[in-house]
Subunit: 403 residues, 2 copies
């Protein structure tokens, strides 16, 4: 057994080791503090000086584009997927001075990611959310960050994800203002869709095809526009062999250009939506081969497999019916995608009949637009499977809540 | 005095503290170790492993998009202007594995630039080309970099600029393959135009409006398409008070979104042009307010003020006339901007008559498209001034060459 003297010696040894470790630590922290930038800024200023990181953004007010740019600091945006599109999306929002960012991803940075913007080779091996938070905090210390290094599609994580998007706003307890889906697979999109339909949370979808030369963004307002389960997301795939779009077990191609354009169009749509300027796009495609940008809007599918989507549709209809007649004109302006003066955008309202066929794997769509994500094989075999999966997740979640 | 139990508790506490401190330490050391770059890679590989930075680019071959992706390593691109568009352009090309990049800029990084992608606060005060080279070399050590920290519009520098674009290729002595104009003023664009007309050098123009919500890219082939002096560059400015576009002495607005989209469209056009896939755009506009993307192509102006442009036009016509008739069809395909299947792009061939009016400050353009850069006041007052300025620069250069 150890004597008092031996123990005292061990305490002294440990104390010395700890002091040494902490000294080294404080030295590193100090060095870090020096590379570390400007202090937090309390109020955005429009002053035109080289040292003001917000002068060029506040100039949007003087230019007559945005009425109240400072309002950006009051918003919380959740970005799900911090890969080729999500990382650039998060960086753009950070540089624009968004109030709070919540990042979700479970992946690690790899050298194979270096053909897209944002991550750097020295970050290989780090988790994407950890690496992203470090870079973003350094770029703009005024933004609040919250990161979650997990896969949102597993039951426990989905539950936590639901909790954070409904309570993780700038003011803890309030919901986030917008969710951006920057994921690369069907399951994760479906999980976001399920959560947003249940919560009535507005979100935006984004995606890039596996051949790297087309992409899209889409605004989804539960009950008002088609959700991800109403109709599969669409992508421009003109003049491209469709078989090249999805191949099992083959490394997908990607380009920093396509992903940068999609992130730019997505965050532009976010800014227009949050700061109320220009026309917010419901669906905007990008075909890099032809520099072709189709746009459209889609009504929800009354036979949607997601019961929360159907519930949101009923609530939206009820709300619309309750509106006094004078406001109906205004409402129509909101719902219908604004055509530009030259009428050259492809704005196609999909009819209910068309949407009924959309529950199958390949809906009847305007020429030149095809489905980007095919529903995974086991789900495709039986039309019911999709609902079953979604329902059982909800049931399990309801059970969890009772505990 | 401390009892044995108390001492044991303290030992356990200290051990835990030390473990925590050392974990933090090893994480920092590890991160530091990673700041060392990867070694140069001799040959691009298509191998699908996490450690291969080119796997997702080489996959473009398997996807049937690009025939020979490796060819990218043989090209040299000069980027003039390393600001909001130029820095992202350089980063995209670096991540794509371009052979050599030559960067020109005379500006310093400021905190006021932090609302756009690429530069970081700790780089404030450094020259843009120096900061960019450091970041880019770290991202991809396989790219060769050459930087010039000067303003290309002064006589000496213009001379050196001409020399580098005609001899600074990957194989020293050979010309560069493409010049990208990412500058923010009329004079610098005019200097690039003058140099490219004299050398018969193909280049691409880019620009973002001062209200931050529109931009464009343009491919200029001396003698074959309109040059910068044939017709002022065009920009989408629909539904925006034109007076907001240019105001003297007012800080211009800028957004990371618009600049990211313009850089993405520009580099996509570069990749399509260099690696021969898809349709290369002659002129592509971006109006962020409406998500409207007009495209067109423009023939050169036979009365262009730049005599080298007129000379290139003569040479092009002679070359075309000499071509055997069987090739004429192919030639037409090259010149005419490819319409997409749905005929929704605005492809307007500007007639010679229209272009004659374009020498004035405001040409007769399709609705919704207006001029992005007005010719500076002193030049605008007299139509002859433009030619005089350009001519005297040429004369001075001729004198320089004689020395």
């Amino acid at each position: 057994m150890a004597t008092v003297e031996e123990l005292k010696l061990r305490v002294r040894e440990l104390e010395n080791e700890l002091i040494k470790c902490r000294q080294k630590q404080s030295f590193v922290d100090d060095a870090h503090k020096h590379t570390q930038n400007r202090p937090r800024i309390d109020r955005m200023s429009a002053e035109v000086v080289d040292s003001n990181p917000y002068s060029r953004l506040m100039a949007l007010k003087r230019m007559g584009i945005v009425d109240d740019y400072e309002k950006i600091r009051t918003f919380t945006v959740a970005v799900v997927g911090v890969g080729g599109v999500g990382s650039v999306t998060a960086e753009m929002l950070t540089r624009c001075g968004i109030g709070k960012l919540i990042l979700f991803d479970y992946d690690k940075v790899e050298l194979a990611n270096m053909n897209r913007l944002f991550f750097q080779p020295h970050q290989a091996g780090l988790s994407k959310v950890e690496a992203a938070e470090h870079t973003l905090r350094n770029i703009n210390p005024d933004v609040w960050f919250e990161t979650h290094n997990y896969n949102i599609t597993t039951l426990d994580n989905f539950n936590h994800f639901m909790d954070r998007i409904s309570h993780g706003g700038l003011e803890e307890g309030k919901p986030v203002d917008l969710i951006l889906s920057c994921v690369d697979n069907f399951e994760a999109r479906m999980a976001i869709n399920t959560a947003c339909n249940e919560l009535g949370q507005i979100w935006m979808e984004s995606g890039v095809s596996e051949n790297a030369v087309s992409g899209h963004i889409q605004l989804i307002i539960p009950g008002e526009t088609a959700c991800f389960a109403c109709a599969p997301p669409l992508v421009v795939a003109a003049n491209i062999d469709e078989k090249t779009l999805k191949r099992e077990g083959v490394c997908a191609a990607s380009l920093p250009t396509t992903m940068g354009v999609v992130a730019g169009l997505l965050v532009q749509n976010v800014l227009k939506y949050l700061l109320k300027f220009g026309s917010v796009s419901y669906y905007l495609g990008y075909n890099a081969m032809q520099d072709f940008f189709p746009s459209m809007s889609m009504k929800p599918n009354p036979q949607c497999n997601d019961r929360h989507c159907r519930k949101q549709q009923d609530e939206y209809k009820k709300k619309e019916a309750e509106r006094p007649k004078v406001e109906v004109v205004e409402e129509e302006e909101e719902v219908v995608h604004e055509e530009n003066d030259w009428g050259i955008e492809l704005v196609s309202e999909v009819t209910d009949t068309e949407l009924q066929t959309a529950s199958g794997p390949m809906p009847d769509l305007p020429e030149g637009i095809t489905v980007a994500y095919t529903i995974p094989a086991q789900v495709q075999e039986s039309g019911e499977m999709l609902e079953d999966t979604e329902q059982s997740l909800e049931e399990l979640m309801a059970q969890m809540r009772k505990l």
